[in-house]
């Protein structure tokens, strides 16, 4: 069956995994990569799972490959930092079944803490990398990557970016091979046991492999020249290619499909056309440009285009030819609309209380990073997944006893299991004094509600063992573990203040499911309303920053939007005048 469908880049990568006969898919969720695994669950032939972090995900993929199966492992750009340890040695071992590692980069930091350019990882780890420029190429290059992985005995990167992963375009789909051979054990310790004696020999293989790949790729159709008028030449790849076609429709284009290793002979041949100007057009780092300059070829690149942010047609036009770029209205009179925690979010009361306790909050990656936003304004640091706990330990080392008490690490359940648990071991082992709050909403919420080892369900929504966070904390040596319901504000306040004052490690587990997970929220609650006879206009409730609570500037009273209020009653507990009422109370 061949058919034309509209797929996102992520859906196309999932489809390609099916068509390529993949047997194992593993990932940790992260925007913009998350939907790849979610879509792979449509294909029952593939064993798809969430791992606790990207390092484990890659290790599972490597195991499947060593067993002889094709495996795909997906993550966001910063996830590759976590998976870098197995990655660099996997480059030496090579594969048995084809292994493709998808890195979904996020130029413009739409939903990330940095905008690192993971093409650098390909060069650093000596792993070939394909870069698609639309959904059709996302599908074609993923399938190709599996073939290359097996042909050249190497893991292969597929690099997507937000605009590839989350754009939909027309794709021709095909079927999965009828028969996939049953993988079986095969021992090859000289290749797979990376002791120094073996690894030294494998390094030689790796260097030769990159040379072979480069030579081969010069004659492959994924690196292609599109003839234009001949005056201007452009070397480009990925999504940048699309902007080049918009802004420089007359140019000769060398479109590079495999960005590492670069097809240097093809580049020399293209440069020999002696264009009036030869551009290298790429987002973020001058990855292609620097290598071409090192070949002694004169090109125009990053002196025209920014190292920061993503390219767009307008930004490319402006970089090459000047002028201005139309942008959305950012004037002060037009109120901004930043993201906010949902109405009824169990994190909200915690951050209000942390703010009131004047805590110094080392934060982490998740929905709760929004605790930074006013009026909650209760986050002082946010570095990477799991960093909150180590950061709290480190900062406590250098503070006076009095200031040490202010230090509170805040981390979600999924992030805690990702890499926070190691920090907690260190905190206890090295006798820190800080307080840790685990915001246990039993889901990986920010990326769109994915299961994790503390949620009790697998990626395919099968019930499974649920990590007992309290027992886990006790097992690493935390003596003071307290579990609270964050909807109970007086208990939350009391517990936070007591544990901050305690001069040893303590963990508070804030236990309340995400309001967006229907499975855990069977109890429907009535929305509240504000009794304007009782409301004094003190604005205490506004300190919650709940989207359901609005201020009536004329009446000087608060109101509740009953369409979006979920009846968590946290606001009721902030009110000293009993103005927040349930509809049932109305007499």
């Amino acid at each position: 069956m061949d058919a034309k469908v509209l797929l996102s880049g992520n859906e196309a990568i999932a489809r390609a995994s099916y068509e390529a006969g993949v047997l194992v898919a593993c990932a940790y969720p992260g925007t913009p990569s998350t939907e790849i695994l979610e879509n792979i669950t449509r294909y029952k032939e593939i064993d798809a799972s969430w791992a606790p972090n990207e390092k484990v995900a890659l290790e599972v993929g490597i195991g499947a490959s060593f067993g002889g199966a094709r495996a795909i492992v997906t993550m966001k750009h910063v996830g590759v930092n976590v998976a870098a340890d197995p990655l660099f040695t996997l480059s030496y071992t090579g594969v048995r079944g084809g292994l493709v590692l998808v890195t979904a980069d996020d130029p413009e930091l739409h939903s990330s803490q940095n905008e690192q350019d993971n093409r650098n990882f390909a060069k650093f780890a000596k792993v070939p990398m394909f870069e698609p420029s639309d959904s059709q190429e996302a599908l074609d290059f993923t399938k190709l990557a599996f073939a290359v992985s097996e042909q050249f005995d190497t893991p292969v990167f597929l690099r997507s970016t937000t605009r590839i992963s989350h754009s939909k375009s027309v794709v021709n789909i095909a079927e999965r091979p009828q028969e996939i051979p049953q993988p079986k054990l095969s021992r090859d310790p000289a290749k797979l046991v990376m002791l120094p004696g073996n690894a030294r020999k494998r390094h030689v293989v790796v260097e030769q492999r990159i040379k072979d790949l480069e030579e081969w790729s010069c004659s492959q159709p994924f690196n292609r020249i599109e003839d234009g008028a001949g005056e201007v030449g452009v070397i480009t790849s990925g999504v940048s290619y699309q902007y080049v076609k918009e802004i420089l429709p007359e140019a000769d284009v060398l479109k590079i499909g495999m960005v590492y290793p670069l097809p240097r002979q093809l580049i020399r041949d293209f440069a020999a056309r002696n264009h009036q100007t030869l551009y290298v057009i790429e987002e973020l780092d001058p990855f292609i440009e620097e290598q071409i300059r090192a070949m002694g070829i004169k090109v125009v690149g990053k002196e025209k285009l920014s190292l920061c942010g993503e390219l767009t047609p307008g930004r490319l036009q402006q970089g090459l030819f000047g002028g201005s770029v139309a942008t959305e209205d950012t004037s002060a009179e037009l109120p901004q609309r930043p993201p906010n925690m949902c109405p009824g979010c169990p994190h909200r009361g915690i951050f209000m209380e942390l703010n009131r306790a004047k805590a110094y909050v080392t934060g982490d990656i998740g929905c709760y990073t929004l605790g930074f936003m006013p009026p909650l304004s209760a986050m002082d640091t946010c570095v990477c997944m799991g960093a909150s706990i180590g950061n709290a330990t480190g900062i406590s080392k250098v503070l006076s006893a009095e200031e040490q008490r202010k230090v509170v690490a805040v981390i979600g359940d999924s992030t805690f299991l990702h890499t926070g648990i190691n920090g907690l071991m260190d905190m206890v082992y090295n006798q820190s004094t800080a307080t840790v709050i685990i915001l246990d909403n039993r889901i990986t919420a920010m990326t769109g509600r994915q299961e994790n080892p503390a949620s009790g369900y697998t990626l395919s929504e099968q019930p499974t063992y649920q990590v007992d966070l309290e027992q886990l904390c006790r097992a690493v040596g935390v003596k003071n573990v307290r579990i609270i319901d964050p909807y109970n504000i007086s208990l939350t306040r009391k517990t936070i203040r007591e544990e901050m004052a305690r001069p040893e490690v303590s963990v508070i587990i804030s236990s309340r499911p995400c309001v967006l997970v229907p499975r855990d929220n069977l109890e429907r609650r009535s929305p509240l309303y504000v009794d304007h006879d009782k409301c004094t206009g003190c604005q205490a409730c506004l300190r919650l920053g709940c989207p359901a609570i609005t201020w009536d500037s004329d009446k000087k009273k608060s109101n509740i939007d009953k369409i979006i209020c979920v009846g968590c009653k946290v606001c009721q507990q902030t009110c000293g005048f009993d103005a927040f009422q349930e509809y049932g109370d109305q007499s």
């Binding site: 509209l6 925007t31 939907e35 739409h110 605009r163 902007y243 918009e246 609309r337 989207p547």
Partner: protein
């Protein structure tokens, strides 16, 4: 049709913008044209400002609409209409929902919701279509069909065979919600 048509959908997370852009893209695909659509997921969904780009024609390259080349600004909320108005071509059209959602600074009483937005927009773009999405959605029988009402209004400014819209809606909308959505679409088209 040689030129690419650029439609920018704008609104607030949770208003059903992504489903609307899916339906629109499906209509284009059914019409046999090339189409690309693009939006940002993740952090921006948490009640933030949301846009979706839909581009179609014989051959589409960039999935992002070149800045300032929006042909139709299709907006679900008035403040968001204003925010993205500078991206519209000088002779572009606005199809917009007559609806206000207070952003945090307004909800907290720190800033007023700008007054007279509809008039400001009409002055700049006289051909603006303003739809009372909620009223028509309620008339159809479900307040959550505002996005389908708005699609109906949009369909009146585009050249696609009405049958394609019906086919796309039937394909994209779950069976149990289909009837109310078809009614909402018809009301958005101006059929009573």
């Amino acid at each position: 049709m040689s030129k690419t048509t650029n439609i920018l959908l704008a609104g607030v997370g949770g208003q059903g913008i992504l489903l609307a852009s899916e339906v629109l893209s499906e209509v284009v695909l059914l019409a046999g044209l090339d189409v690309k659509k693009n939006e940002i997921h993740g952090m921006s969904q948490r009640g933030g400002s949301v846009v979706s780009h839909v581009r179609y024609g014989e051959k589409v390259y960039s999935s992002i609409i070149p800045e300032g080349e929006v042909d139709i600004l299709f907006s679900f909320e008035m403040l968001e209409t204003c925010r993205y108005l500078p991206l519209l071509r000088p002779n572009g059209r606005v199809v917009m929902n007559d609806w206000k959602i207070a952003p945090p600074s307004v909800a907290l009483g720190k800033q007023p919701y700008p007054a007279d937005l509809a008039e400001t927009i009409r002055l700049q773009h006289p051909s603006t279509t303003v739809v009372n999405g909620l009223e028509l959605a309620l008339a159809a029988g479900n307040s959550k069909t505002v996005n389908t009402v708005l699609l109906g209004a949009l369909s009146q400014t585009l050249d696609f065979d009405p049958q394609l819209w019906q086919t796309a809606l039937r394909k994209m909308i779950p069976e149990r919600l289909l009837e109310v959505n078809l009614k909402a679409f018809a009301l958005g088209c101006g059929e009573h």
